[in-house]
Symmetry: C2
């Protein structure tokens, strides 16, 4: 087990910090990539929503390099709570913003199952990727 | 105040998820950018350390878009604890890995002051950027 930081160490920052995978893999890669599945458009739609709703400074949307959950892309992780979403589409953006980022209720239907995150094998991932 | 997610909502993921700003701004921008200050090299050095130490799956290093703390770059944020570092150099990488990522003790001398994060004005930021 890696050392944990105590609660007292928590510093002020964004109330919600959202990272959208926008990693690019070569065409034909068996894991696919979040860029090829629309990651950038989802990042941009989230950024636009945050600006439109005046959430700047409280909610931050960032594109990120490979979050290593490629088979479930486009993937998103929301910190500090560490909620993971997979198979996100543009049609899901408004619900993520309103339910989770504003009202603190994660969108359950989009959450990655515990057994899918960092698992060598899961229903979406073949043994060849272990 | 934006809604908070309860502790029960926390899902398994990385024990430490580190985002290094690698944003690029045009040369001469008054805020500067983390890419121009060495963000990519720091990201790569952190990735190499994680691989070398066998921390894959527990610690994840990612480059990220603009974390909006440009005047303090290169900036890094470590989740889930939300510890922010600024003015990081390559010489700081081993200490961040050993002290914080492995042993859970943030590197105090590198932490951004509370008054610097998301503040319109701070000792590093002029009023023109407010």
């Amino acid at each position: 087990m890696i050392g944990r930081v105590t609660k007292e160490a928590i510093m002020p920052g964004f109330e919600k910090h959202v990272f959208v995978c926008t990693n690019v893999r070569p065409a034909g890669n068996p894991r696919g990539c979040c860029s090829g599945k629309g990651g950038e458009a989802i990042r941009d739609a989230l950024k636009n929503a945050v600006a439109r709703l005046g959430l700047k400074g409280k909610v931050r949307i960032n594109g990120a390099g490979c979050l290593d959950q490629c088979e479930h892309g486009p993937t998103i992780v929301v910190y500090p709570e560490g909620v993971w979403y997979g198979f996100v589409t543009l049609a899901d953006v408004d619900e993520i913003v309103e339910s989770h980022l504003i009202n603190g209720r994660p969108v359950e239907r989009l959450r990655l199952a515990d057994g899918c995150i960092n698992a060598p094998v899961c229903p979406h991932k073949g043994k060849s990727n272990a």
